[in-house]
Amino acid sequence: MTSIRLYVNGDRYDIDVEPRRTLADALREDCGLTGTHLGCEHGVCGACTVLLDGQPIRACLMFAVQAEGASIRTVEGLAPDDTTLHPVQQAFWDNHGLQCGFCTPGFLTLIAGYLEEHPDAGEEELREVLASNLCRCTGYQNILKATLCAQKAMCGDAFDDESTE
C-alpha cells in the first residue's frame, strides 16, 4: 500500500492504495465519488474522463499514485453548489443530451474542461473533441447541440444570437 494525497473537487483525500490501483477506482472506491464511470477500462470510451490539473484525462489509464498531489475535478465538482448547475450540465438537461446517462459524466467533464480553456472553439473543433468519448444512446446529436449551447452560455457576450431551441 502507498499513501497518497489527492485534491478532488477542492477537498483533500489522504488515501492508501495499492500501486496498481487506477485513479478511477481510487476516486470511486476510496474517495466515494462514483459519478466517474467505467465503461471499458481500456481507455476507449471516455466515461471515466476527469480533469487533472485542468486537463481531461482517462482515469482508467492512470494509476492513482501518479496523481499524487494533483488537483482533480470530477463530475461532482462541476456545479458550484447543490442548487446551481454548471452551464454544460444545464445545456445537457435543456437539450436532452443524455439518455441512460452512463457516458454523461465523461462528456460533461470533457466539455467543461475544453470550453473553459478554449471558449472560442469552432463547431468542427468541438466535434473532434467530442469524438474522444463514446455514447451508445443519443447518436451524439443532442450532445453536440448541448455543447454548442453551453459554449454560448459560458461565453456570454461573445455570442449575441440566442439559442434556437
Binding site: E18, G39, H96, L134, L144
Partner: protein
C-alpha cells in the same frame, strides 16, 4: 424538425426536459457498480471462462486458499429453461456453469470469490482448467453439413429437426408456387450480416446482498426485465420468488442485451445465499463481448415474384440465423428466426408466401435480442430486393415502393399479422421530398464530373411495436393448462401499474416496465398529469424493483410507451373519475361537471374549486365521512395487454464513397417517421437519433469476428469500432402522426425503428454510388476493406455462405 409550431396546452406533446436528468448530470446517478463500491463488506466474484469453442473438461485445479466454485458445487441448481411449445423447437437447458463440456469461448466454467475485485482477478488466474478439445462448428453452413459435430448431442433422435437445427419454422400459402410460375420476373437477393453486439456502455454488473435477518437476497443488476429475472433465478435455485428481491437501479443502456437472464446472476445469487455474504460481479468489457449475447449473424436468401409493372405477387425465402450455443431466457433462440418468418414482408403488400426460417446452433456465444432483432436484416433483404427489381424491370425506385406499400388498413399479411392504420406511402413521399431527389441527380452528376461518387438509398419499414401476450402466445402452438402442473412456456406481454395519490396529493406510479435511459418516467408523468390536472414533477414513478412494483415484463421491443403507457392511462382515468366524484359531492355538482386542472377539482365554468390535496387528505383521514362510501384510499390499478401496433418510417441515406480507400461518408440522413402520437417529442427524436446511429454502426463499422478456431478476436471497443460523433451525420427527422385504435395512448413504439431502417438505406446508397463499378452491397458491415476489395475485383460484396449454396466453403468476404 421536432419543434411544434405552437406549444400544446397539454403536458403530452411537449418536449419537457426529463425528470431523470438532474441527478445524473450531477454524478449522483446510482448504477449497480456504484452500490457495490459503497458496500465495504462486499466480496467480489470473477468467472473463469472457456478458452476453447468446444471441449471436454478433464479437470479443474485450484491452489489452496482460493475460494472457487464449479458445476459440482452447484449440483442442486437447475439449468435455465427457455421453452416454446411447437414441434420444430428444440429445448436445451443452459447449465449455470459448464458441466462436462464447454460450448463456446467465454462460457463460464467456475468462479472465485475474494475480498476485492483485484484479488478476485488474481485468484481467477490461479484456477487451472484442463480441457480436451472437441470438434467445433463455427458457422451455420458447417453446422448443417453432413456429419457435422453436434453442439448438443442430447436432442432425441426422433426429433423432426435436422441436426443442430433448433427452430425450423415455415409459412406457405397455397398459391405461392403458382405465383412464381406465372410471374413476369423473379428477382433474387441474398443478404447477410456479421455478428453484432448491442454494446451498452455499462457492461453487465450485479450485486447480491444477503440479509441474515430475513434470509432474503437482494439482487441489484443492470436489467430490462427484473420480474422475469426473479422468476428465472428462483426456478433455477428452487426457492420461493419472495426470497429474492430484484432491483435494476440506474441502468447504463440495454438495447435488448439486458433482457436475458444471465448465468452469472444465477451463480451470484446462489453464492450470496451459500456464503451468507454480499457479493458483486462487475463484468469487464472483454467479458461483455465474449459472453453477453451476440446477435444478427444471419443470411437470408429471398426471391420476389413481380409483374412487369412492378407489383410484388409472392415472396419465398430461406432464412438462416446462427444462434450460438445456448437458448436465451425468456424469449428463446426462436426470437430471431420466428420474427423474421412472420414479419419479413414488412410494409409491403404480398399475397403469396413461402418462407422457411431456421435457428442453427454453433459453438459461439449465444444470441439474444438486440434493438430491432431480425428486422434490420428483414428490411435489408426487402429493400435490396426492391432496388434490384426496380433495376431489372426499369422502374423508378420510389415508384416501385409506392405501388407495393400497404395503403388499406387494417391489412392482413400472408403470415397472419394484422397491420393497423399507418402511413407507409406518406412517409415515403415525405422522405423523398426531404431528399430532393431531382436535385440529388444534379449533384450526383456534378460530383461524378469531379471524379466523386455519390449515391442515395431508400428504406421503408413497418416496426411492430407494443405487442402484448397475444403476439407472444402466437409463437407457440396452442396448449391447454394442465390440471396439476404449470406450463413450461413463458409468455410475456401485459403491463400493470398502480397509481396512488397520497394524503398530501402527491402521485406515485408503480410500473412493471423497467426503463433504462428512455425517459419513460417523464413521459408517463406527462400522460398521467393530463388526466389529473397535475404537474409532472408531482409524480414519482417507481420502477424496476420487484418488492415495490406490480408484476410486469419490463422494457423491450418498443413497448413501454404503448403498453405501460396504456396501463397508466387507464389507471389515471379511473383515479380521475373517483376524484371527480368526490369533488362533486363536496361542491354539490355532478361528476361530469367537474374538471381537474392546476391541482384542483373545479366546477366547470365557475370559480368553485377544491384542492386535490384536500380531497386526498379527507379520503384517507376522514374516510368515514366519504359520501361515495368508496375505498379509504386513492389508488387505481391499470392493466393493458394489446395485440400490438405498427409504427412505420422511411429512411433515406445519401452517401459519398471514395473508391480508392473504400471509405463511406454519410452526407445526409433523412427520417420520415410515424410513431403515432408523440408524448414527448424530444424523447422520441432521441430514440430515433440513437437508433439510426446504431444502424449506421451495423452498416459500416461494427462486427464481432471469430477466428477459425472459434476464438473471438474483437474483444475491445477499439476492435469492435463503435462510431464517434465524427462518423455520424446530422439526422433530419419529419414526423407524421397517425392515430391508431390499436394503442390506447395513440403512441406507437419508436425504440427500435432507427436501427431497423438505417442499414438497408445505407446498403442501397452505397450500391447506388458504386453502380459505375458494378458493385452492390449484400453483406454488412460494408467496411472500407470490403468495399475496396470489391471494387478492385469488380464484384459484389456478397452475402455469407448459405446452407442452400450446396458448397461448404469458407467465406471470402
Amino acid at each position: 424538425m421536432s419543434g411544434a409550431a405552437t406549444e400544446p396546452t397539454t403536458w403530452t406533446g411537449r418536449a419537457l426536459p426529463r425528470l431523470e436528468d438532474p441527478a445524473i448530470i450531477r454524478g449522483w446517478g446510482t448504477y449497480v457498480a456504484d452500490i457495490a463500491a459503497r458496500n465495504t463488506a462486499c466480496g467480489y466474484v470473477r468467472f473463469v471462462r472457456s478458452p476453447l469453442a468446444s471441449g471436454r473438461i478433464l479437470s479443474i485445479t485450484t491452489p489452496p486458499g482460493v475460494t472457487v466454485f464449479t458445476a459440482a458445487d452447484l449440483a442442486g441448481v437447475q439449468p435455465i429453461r427457455a421453452v416454446l411449445h411447437r414441434p420444430d423447437f428444440v429445448e436445451i437447458g443452459t447449465p449455470i456453469l459448464a458441466t462436462d463440456v464447454v460450448r463456446f469461448v467465454g462460457e463460464p466454467i467456475a468462479f472465485v470469490v475474494a475480498d476485492s475485485e483485484a484479488a478476485a482477478e488474481d485468484a481467477a488466474e490461479l484456477v487451472e482448467v484442463d480441457i480436451e478439445p472437441l470438434p467445433a462448428v463455427l458457422s451455420a453452413t458447417a453446422a448443417l453439413a453432413d456429419g457435422a459435430p453436434l453442439v448438443h448431442d442430447c436432442v432425441p433422435p426422433e426429433h423432426p429437426n435436422a441436426p443442430n437445427t433448433m427452430v425450423d419454422g415455415r409459412i406457405t400459402t397455397p398459391g405461392a408456387d403458382k405465383a412464381f410460375a406465372t410471374a413476369d420476373a423473379v428477382v433474387a437477393v441474398k443478404v447477410s450480416s456479421s455478428r453484432q453486439s448491442a454494446m451498452p456502455l455499462e457492461a453487465r454488473a450485479s450485486h447480491a446482498t444477503f440479509d441474515r435477518a430475513t434470509g432474503r437476497t437482494t439482487l441489484y443488476a443492470t436489467l430490462q426485465m427484473p420480474h422475469i429475472t426473479r422468476t428465472g433465478i428462483a426456478d433455477c435455485l428452487g426457492i420461493p420468488e419472495d426470497d429474492l428481491r430484484v432491483i435494476a437501479p440506474d441502468v447504463g443502456g440495454g438495447f435488448g442485451a439486458k433482457m436475458t437472464l444471465a448465468r452469472e446472476d444465477v451463480a451470484l445469487v446462489w453464492a450470496a445465499r451459500h456464503l451468507r455474504r454480499d457479493l458483486a460481479w462487475i463484468e469487464t468489457r472483454e467479458e461483455n463481448f465474449l459472453g453477453a449475447w451476440h446477435s444478427r449473424e444471419q443470411v437470408y436468401a429471398i426471391e420476389g415474384a413481380f409483374t412487369a409493372d412492378g407489383d410484388l405477387l409472392a415472396l419465398r425465402g430461406d432464412l438462416i440465423c446462427d444462434v450460438g450455443a445456448y437458448c436465451c431466457y425468456p424469449v428463446t433462440w426462436a426470437v430471431e428466426p420466428l420474427m423474421a418468418l412472420v414479419e419479413l414482408p414488412g410494409p409491403y403488400k404480398v399475397a403469396e408466401y413461402d418462407v422457411r426460417s431456421r435457428a442453427i446452433a454453433t459453438n459461439k456465444c449465444p444470441i439474444a435480442p438486440y434493438r430491432g432483432v431480425s428486422r434490420p436484416m428483414q428490411v435489408l433483404a426487402m429493400e435490396r430486393l426492391m432496388d434490384r427489381a426496380a433495376a431489372q424491370l426499369g422502374i423508378d425506385r420510389v415508384e416501385i415502393r409506392d405501388r407495393n406499400l400497404i395503403d388499406e388498413y387494417p391489412h392482413r399479411s400472408p403470415t397472419g399479422l394484422v397491420l393497423d392504420v399507418a402511413s407507409h406511402r406518406e412517409t415515403l413521399a415525405a422522405a423523398a421530398k426531404l431528399a430532393d431527389l431531382e436535385d440529388f441527380e444534379r449533384r450526383r452528376a456534378e460530383a461524378r464530373a469531379r471524379g466523386r461518387y455519390l449515391g442515395i438509398g431508400i428504406s421503408c419499414f413497418a416496426e411492430r411495436t407494443g405487442y402484448g401476450t397475444p403476439a407472444f402466445a402466437a409463437r407457440s402452438t396452442p396448449y391447454p393448462l394442465q390440471p396439476d402442473k404449470a406450463a413450461p412456456v413463458v409468455t410475456p406481454g401485459f403491463e400493470r401499474v398502480i397509481l396512488t395519490m397520497d394524503p398530501s396529493g402527491g402521485l406515485t406510479l408503480r410500473i412493471g416496465a423497467s426503463p433504462h435511459g428512455q425517459g419513460l418516467k417523464t413521459s408517463l408523468a406527462q400522460l398521467v398529469c393530463d388526466e389529473l390536472g397535475m404537474r409532472p414533477d408531482q409524480v414519482r414513478v417507481i420502477a424496476s424493483d420487484t418488492d415495490n412494483t406490480p408484476y410486469g415484463w419490463g422494457s423491450y421491443a418498443s413497448r413501454a410507451m404503448v403498453i405501460a403507457g396504456g396501463a397508466s392511462l387507464i389507471a389515471a382515468r379511473n383515479l380521475a373519475e373517483r376524484l371527480r366524484a368526490l369533488a362533486a359531492d363536496r361542491l354539490g355538482a355532478l361528476p361530469d361537471d367537474i374538471v381537474l386542472e392546476d391541482g384542483k377539482a373545479r366546477r366547470s365554468g365557475t370559480d368553485e374549486a377544491v384542492d386535490l390535496a384536500v380531497i386526498a387528505r379527507d379520503t384517507y383521514h376522514s374516510s368515514h365521512l366519504l359520501a361515495d362510501k368508496g375505498e379509504p384510499a386513492l389508488e387505481s390499478v391499470g392493466t393493458y395487454d394489446p395485440s400490438g401496433t405498427f409504427a412505420n418510417a422511411c429512411h433515406i441515406a445519401e452517401v459519398e464513397v471514395d473508391p480508392l480507400t473504400g471509405k463511406v461518408e454519410i452526407k445526409r440522413f433523412l427520417v420520415a417517421e410515424d410513431a403515432g402520437r408523440l408524448i414527448n417529442p424530444a424523447i422520441v427524436d432521441g430514440q430515433i437519433h440513437g437508433g439510426v446511429v446504431q444502424g449506421i454502426a451495423n452498416a459500416l463499422y461494427e462486427e464481432l469476428i471469430y477466428d477459425d478456431r472459434g476464438i473471438l478476436v474483437t474483444t475491445s471497443l477499439m476492435d469492435f469500432l463503435p462510431p464517434t460523433v465524427t462518423e455520424v451525420p446530422d439526422i433530419e427527422i419529419a414526423h407524421i402522426c397517425t392515430l391508431s385504435p390499436a394503442s390506447l395512448t395513440g403512441a406507437k413504439g419508436v425504440g427500435e425503428g432507427g436501427t431497423i431502417g438505417a442499414p438497408a438505406a445505407i446498403a442501397n446508397a452505397i450500391s447506388d454510388a458504386l453502380r459505375p463499378f458494378g458493385v452492390e452491397v449484400f453483406h454488412l458491415p460494408a467496411t472500407p476493406h470490403r468495399i475496396r476489395s470489391a471494387i478492385r475485383e469488380g464484384r459484389d460484396i456478397s452475402a455469407a455462405p448459405h446452407p442452400a449454396d450446396g458448397v461448404e466453403q469458407e467465406s471470402t468476404r
